[in-house]
């Protein structure tokens, strides 16, 4: 970052430019975990058209900025989601859909879903509902843009800072599954 350490441009100004640009061009990964994926086509197509805000689906995690967790997460999917999240380039954001990733929702006593997503990944915006309507999803996107603009969407920094704790939680979930498999 040497160039922008105050010689040419203040680091804060540089950050601000970065935030303005990334707010207006959020690319999301095509990775759908649960029921919520069905609410995305109306959001993308002509009715709600999220490309108005420069948002769009991207094919691979390397290219993307936003990870959408669209509904319940089984432990097996969690492994993949963590992989996808770690491949994305920061600044990166997570939006979680529906009540399942918040507190388990209707799967609260299920044997193979995780109940609270933010124990495993830093979530920036939650959308409530089972399922949230497209209006709700749009609202969440606008909310995320507002948070980015104010510099409050700092989930990725949190993940770097508390990496050990997140890893420990993830490992606990994975181990739990392995023991269950071996016991059966």
């Amino acid at each position: 970052m040497g160039l922008f350490d105050g010689d040419i441009m203040k680091y804060e100004d540089w950050n601000k430019i970065s935030r303005i640009a990334s707010r207006k061009s959020l690319w999301m990964v095509h990775f759908c975990t649960g029921c919520g994926a069905i609410e995305l086509p109306p959001v993308m197509t002509s009715r709600y058209d999220m490309e108005r805000f420069g948002m769009g689906p991207m094919a691979t995690p390397r290219q993307a900025d936003v990870l959408l967790i669209t509904g319940y997460l089984t432990v097996k999917t969690l492994k993949r989601v963590v992989n996808v999240y770690e491949q994305m380039q920061s600044p990166k954001y997570v939006i979680s859909f529906g009540s399942c990733p918040i507190n388990g929702g209707m799967y609260w006593d299920s044997y193979n879903t995780v109940k609270r997503l933010d124990r495993y990944l830093p979530v920036d915006v939650y959308v409530g509902g089972c399922m949230p309507r497209p209006e709700g999803v749009m609202n969440a996107f606008l909310e995320l843009m507002k948070l980015i603009d104010e510099g409050k969407a700092r989930g990725w920094e949190k993940y770097q800072k508390y990496y050990e704790q997140y890893k420990r939680n993830q490992k606990m979930a994975f181990n739990f599954e392995r023991e269950k498999d071996e016991g059966a």
Partner: protein
């Protein structure tokens, strides 16, 4: 003199890149309107590139991966310098039509090198498809180019442009056919549907670009912008007289030619986008067959027609 020349060259390539980035945004807007959507603002391309270049982390897959981008970028810039823009020729010599054909292969090879270095299997499939595509569209395109060279009796693009002052090539009957063939070849060069086989996002996760992220993807988008300008300018130079409408060498003529060039490449690009939005994707062997069977046949007919016109 040398400093001036370098400054002019830098100015031209920068303008070309800016026009290309603008076209990417305009293109998305046009596609959105076809889908009956509002679409992003026309300056979206600039925002996207700014975002990608200001990303905080970046992953490299070794020095080949880094240098390959520079390699493609250099190739596309050189191509732009050899194409007259609005009748202004920066570099030109006898036989540069052949040189441009070679130069056009450099960016694709650089791209293939970078994608290969990333080691992603999807990228490998994408590169394979891109090379097969190159092989397929170049045959009909070269035949139309030979027809032009026979008719104008020169192998320099700048001279082909100059000789079209009185009458654009597309107004001569055999070249209507040739222009149609070249336009479909252009579709393949720009990787727009039905020939977006190498970068099909839903089949092979955007192919060669699968592992590109952050600043590398930003550089790749600038390269893509350059290709849009280079290929459309090539078409305009060959068939639409390079957009030259006034040739008295005054400042006004310079500006007018530049404006007409801009409008013409925009029209060519829009046409390719409209074809893109209305067709699904070919499979690679279908695309190959399309180019080598039908397109090449049409190109041959126009070549023979031109030959008969010239000798009679």
């Amino acid at each position: 003199m040398v400093v001036e020349k370098i400054a002019v060259i830098a100015l031209y390539t920068t303008i070309a890149m800016f026009v290309g980035i603008l076209f990417m945004g305009v293109g998305r807007k046009i596609v959105a309107r076809v889908h009956n959507r509002v679409g992003p603002p026309v300056y979206q391309g600039f925002i996207d590139i700014a975002k990608l270049l200001t990303k905080k982390t970046n992953i490299s897959h070794g020095w080949i991966y880094d240098l390959a981008l520079l390699f493609s970028m250099t190739g596309i810039m050189l191509t732009i310098l050899f194409l007259p823009i609005g009748g202004v020729k920066l570099l030109s010599m006898e036989g540069d039509a052949f040189l441009v054909l070679y130069l056009l292969a450099i960016p694709a090879l650089g791209f293939a090198l970078g994608a290969g270095a990333s080691g992603n299997p999807n990228a490998a499939i994408g590169v394979m498809r891109a090379l097969v595509m190159m092989l397929s569209y170049e045959l009909p395109f070269v035949i139309t180019l030979i027809a032009l060279m026979i008719y104008y009796d020169t192998s320099s693009i700048a001279q082909i442009v100059e000789m079209q002052h009185a009458k654009w090539a597309i107004m001569i009957p055999p070249f209507v056919l040739a222009a149609a063939v070249a336009d479909m070849a252009l579709q393949g060069m720009l990787m727009e549907a039905p020939f977006d086989i190498p970068t099909a996002p839903h089949e092979i996760a955007s192919g060669p670009m699968a592992e590109f992220g952050g600043k590398h993807l930003g550089a790749l988008m600038i390269y893509k912008a350059g290709t849009i300008v280079a290929y459309t300018t090539l078409f305009v130079d060959l068939f639409l007289g390079g957009g030259v409408v006034m040739h008295d060498g005054s400042v006004l003529a310079y500006l007018a030619n530049f404006a007409v060039w801009f409008i013409l490449i925009f029209l060519v690009f829009t046409l390719s986008l409209l074809i893109n939005t209305s067709f699904p994707r070919f499979r690679i062997e279908q695309a190959f067959k399309f180019y080598w069977k039908y397109e090449a046949l049409l190109a041959f007919i126009s070549l023979i027609w031109v030959y008969l016109m010239v000798i009679s």
